[in-house]
Amino acid sequence: MSDIDQRLKQAFGEHTEGVRVVADLAERAIARDRSNRRRELGVAALGAGLVLAVAVPVGWGALRPTDVRPLPIGPSVATTAPTAPTGRPSPAPSSSRVTTAPTPTAIPTLRPTGAPDAVRLTPATGPVTAATDVGYVVDGVFRLGVTSVALPADLHDTAYVERLGDGLLVSGPDGYVVVGRDGRKGTVIASSQQTPRVSEDLTHVLLSDADGALVYADSRGTRLRTLPPGSATESGYSPAGLVGTTAYAARPGTGASVAWDVVTGRVVPVRGELSLVNATSGLGLAAIGGDVAADGSNFCNALIDLTSGRELWRLCGPLRFVGFSADGTHLLATGHVDGLDPWRFESLVVVRASDGAIVLQGGGLQADAEDDVVSARMGADQRLTLQVWNGETRDLQRCGLDGRCEVVGAARALPNPGVPEASGPYVLSDN
């Protein structure tokens, strides 16, 4: 061994001697995985390199970096008035409607760098003065109006809940499990996968399973149809939503999605990576690849009329979309996108679906700022239910598009201060 070999070993030894793990690393990694799943579709357009690292690694080759494959995008103008979304799509769109729609010659492209004209969110303080019609879990109990369901003990720290049939779909240590109105656990449909999407009428759910296959199940958890993930090196499907019997799902890292008719089994490719679908309006939001800018300014999402395949508008900027309002008239987003520094938008941004305008903003530009909005849902009555950080605890608030709020859930401490990425203490239902 040469002199420099020995000196290298010495240098490495010295500089790692003082490195110690001082937290529960396994728990943190599991929390990071959960958090990543929530963020992946939002950042998919930033490039295939990131998504590649979560592709199913059947061999070493699957982990090697590949080239970014940006989607071709049509010309855009900033001033063209968008057309309001039209009607509700048919339950099972034909392939021609989804795939062969001509690329619009003038897609309105919005490039906001801030929202100075948006209404400011003004969270309330003090005791509970109102109620919300959005369901949520707190202290291991699901609450919706006067209804409550006590969850089994091993589901108390769930990070996901959604109404399904007469009961609930809840994430737990065994995977996504059906829970009856009596609080009893039923079928575990799938384990540790992307966020499930329940149909508008609560009768069915779309999930992906451990192998990335897409699963269509009924409200009792019975698997009715399965769409295999494709070749072993592909990353499988990430559910976007159900419109009637058409299931929409992204293929992460490919820039594409599918529309799967669960009755006929027909699969039709859809352009862009769909992250959100709203059955009421027939709209979908898809990440569209483009050149990456370090400030996120070229991070584009397109609002698509699923019936015609037509892009209504494209919004490019450092925003991560997290959901539609129940009626599809608005989209909820956050400007808190990891790694972008500084953040241009606050933790809650409400975008109008008809024209892409930012109508409400709040929550601050800093992580953990007072009034930081941790999670948000918007009902068909166009009122928001928000989990808000107040500096030491989180409470639940109900706010209008005029920015005024009322407290609907008392302030509570973080369930685990060592895991700041945890979603509680309030876990809002996705429907």
Binding site: L8, A53, L63
Partner: protein
Amino acid sequence: MDDAERRADFTAYVRAREQSLARLAYLLTDDRDAAEDLLQNALAKVYRHWDRVRAAELPDAYVRRIMVNENNSRWRGLLRRHESPSSHVLEVLEPPGVAGLDSTASIDLWRHVQGLPRQQRAAVVLRYYEDLSEAQTAEVLGCSVGTVKSHTSRAISALRTRMSEATA
């Protein structure tokens, strides 16, 4: 394996290997925040594919590969998450120095290692800290043995030059 078993199995693996993995992350990044982020992201990916990682029988090799790839990703700087002061995963104490050895020279060498291109740096860390063979290093870096030889030799040559310049 159900999810509870999977979680327990993964947790046992991490607890057994966490100090070693943390040190590798620190050597690859030379920054506590970056090492924390790298470590958590890499292990999150390992957890997602834990069934396959376990089945591979060489989880360490797999984890090292994810860490190196993750560290080389051009998106990492863009997408990094920062811990709050109260939530750090790693503690990094100043190196105490080793009796009888010239710690100044060691610190200088370390500084020069930090200046190496990422692939060269990863190659020397894997070869001289992890004690991997050239073939094992090639497997982790996803390149040929010849490329590992080339990375290592260029790195050593650069380090020799910089050290001799510093001495002069």
